[in-house]
């Protein structure tokens, strides 16, 4: 009988000394199972963002711009006063005869399009 309290005490002592669930000593990332369950992944999120950006870019490029259909904006933008660089930025300007040009002022070749808009 005397041993019973002692035995109970020992049992209690044993329970108190049982280690709790400790985190992995290496501090590694959640397991694959956890990742799959939560859908969290730094890599996955980044990929999704890039894909979204790509889609957004493609969409923006194809968005119609109204009626009457405006000019195709694929023509590089430039200003009439910008000087050509070594790579020759095309410029928009006006000739002395009143016609309009697009390209380097000192371009060696001039292509003149005589056309009716109709």
């Amino acid at each position: 009988m005397k041993r019973l309290p002692v035995l109970a005490f020992l049992l209690l002592l044993l329970a108190a000394c049982t280690p709790a669930m400790q985190p992995d000593a290496s501090g590694s990332a959640p397991t694959a199972a956890t990742v799959a369950a939560t859908g969290l992944s730094a890599t996955g999120a980044a990929t999704e963002s890039v894909a979204t950006i790509g889609i957004a870019t493609a969409t923006a490029a194809t968005v119609p711009t109204g009626t009457p259909a405006p000019a195709d904006t694929s023509r590089p933008e430039s200003t009439a006063t910008a000087a050509p660089t070594a790579e020759t930025d095309p410029t928009y300007g006006r000739n002395e005869d009143g016609t309009f040009y697009y390209g380097a002022v000192d371009a060696p070749v001039t292509v003149t399009d005589y056309s009716d808009f109709l």
Partner: protein, 142 residues
């Protein structure tokens, strides 16, 4: 030339080899003059706007043939141009007179077909494939 124009711009204008110019031909009735005047009026506000207006007209040729004043005004508005300034120019004589002078000049130069593409004095009659223009340009650059 619109079909090949983008290739010419990308491959020759951007690198500084070519400068493109547009000169109107007024062969097909009142809207030949109206459209040319409208494009010139766009250019009066900004030389770059001339080319945006030019591109829009060619992309919508089916509509331009039967277009009225409102069409040309709306097109200018759609391109962000100053509406009152555009209308004043369109309704005035300046741009129309210039278009007619340019048309007369091309006739005097013996240009009777449209389109006629003049590349440093070499004339190509009718729309050509880009490769044809590229060949002529390459020959001039050698």
């Amino acid at each position: 030339m619109l079909g090949a124009e983008r290739d010419i711009i990308a491959n020759h204008v951007v690198p500084g080899q070519v400068r493109i110019v547009f000169s109107p031909v007024l062969d097909l009735g009142p809207n030949s003059l109206n459209s040319a005047a409208a494009a010139l009026c766009a250019g009066e506000q900004d030389p770059a706007a001339f080319w945006r207006y030019h591109d829009s007209l060619f992309q919508n040729q089916g509509e331009v043939y039967g277009a009225d004043r409102a069409y040309f005004v709306a097109l200018a508005a759609g391109l962000g141009l100053d509406g009152p300034a555009f209308e004043a120019c369109y309704d005035g004589d300046g741009a129309r007179t210039l278009a007619q002078q340019l048309d007369a000049a091309r006739r005097d130069a013996g240009i009777v077909n449209r389109p006629t593409i003049d590349i440093n004095g070499q004339r190509l009659i009718g729309a050509q494939r880009y490769s044809t223009y590229a060949e002529v340009i390459a020959g001039l650059l050698r």
